[in-house]
Symmetry: C2
Subunit: 224 residues, 2 copies
Amino acid sequence: MNFEDKDTPLTGFLENVAGVLEANQARSVRIRDSYINAGIDLLNEERLGHVTIPDLATLCGCSVGSFYTRFKDKEAYFRALRVTTIHACNMEIDRRVTVEALKKLGPKKGLEELVDLMSDLFTSRYRGVLRESLLRILEPDDPWAPMRDSARGIMANYHQAFENAFEGYKPKEARRRLSFCFQMIVGVLQNDLVNDYHVFSTKDKSLRNGLREAVLHYMNFGDR
Amino acid sequence: MNFEDKDTPLTGFLENVAGVLEANQARSVRIRDSYINAGIDLLNEERLGHVTIPDLATLCGCSVGSFYTRFKDKEAYFRALRVTTIHACNMEIDRRVTVEALKKLGPKKGLEELVDLMSDLFTSRYRGVLRESLLRILEPDDPWAPMRDSARGIMANYHQAFENAFEGYKPKEARRRLSFCFQMIVGVLQNDLVNDYHVFSTKDKSLRNGLREAVLHYMNFGDR
DNA sequence: AATGAAAATGAATATGAATTCATTTTCATT
DNA sequence: AATGAAAATGAATTCATATTCATTTTCATT
């Protein structure tokens, strides 16, 4: 499955999601995927709470009952949307955040790449699922947790790639700074995810440029 | 009413909140305030959706019906919590963010004060109401809107106070930078509001210090 | 094409919290 | 302390979706 592709079947990971029922026939796989794709797109427009199962079924051209032969309940369905999303994000992360590639880029371009990667994830087709996950972050199963895991992976590679890369390198200090950069990037992007009224927005390139600038300044690449 | 005080009666603004019913007797005012204070405290522990009206009534030592003679519905109740919160925040903002005071502080200390003020608001007794408002930001009445209004007020005063204050002053550029700073502060604090797992947290002073440092670097006060 | 398993159907049901309201109690004014 | 208005009471009701299930249809294998 490609980062933005909705035609590749979602086989190989949806099978293992709790509450996603076995789909043994081609027909049922097709319907299941159509539910998933409809959900991903719908969440770019509205909250999951406003999507009723009858609505969803109608949209996919089938019946309420078919939904419940594919998913144990609405919660399992949302879980499936999240797993699909995190899978796509992780593919993109693994492709772009390798220690090797980052070493080649060097710290300055590497930091820009960090901003770009995170901006790309937050403006992808999965934006709605990310938003819904964020807004449900306090629910018992913490739908944002997998994003944190991915984030830790990204940071680990960055720390490793950029060891010694900064002028007057001090290990602890460099790690601390990089961590704060990341927290800043995520904070600003999460803020943009739920808020349409800011000066700097992912709708144009202003947020991305602002973040690049802020990160570079903070890491002392301000004027270089 | 003081920023952290729960004993001063909430008279003078709750009366005008849509769906908050008239309270003509001392008893009803007391009960109303007790509902409000209970709600503010409860939202530091759990989501509004998990608080049932019977729970709330029991907690306040009265009955479900009394809730409905004070508030038109649960929505009006939440509105009252928000109005109380924004009132307290605005008091604090008005006290600390005057053009005069900021001019006296100068740009560097003024920026630190911005971080401190925002950190204080986000760690106050009203933190839970702010969190609930943020997590419901996409609902029709946008409970976060008043925060944005306050934010605009803060920024207006900062822009005015710091005109010409930066080295090699360029009006547009200075405003842009200051706006980004603010968006960064709010982003990071909102992130902290819903997320317990970050390296830098408002639970200790690490987030505040990190933000100060980032803001000062970005505004070119890094090493001074 | 016969067969049994899998899947789809959608009207009927379950669920759970918000809200109502007939009645009782308290307040404030005389 | 009598009186009417305001407020409190909490069991019963409403309401909106999620979910079920008896029945029908489709699939895949022989």
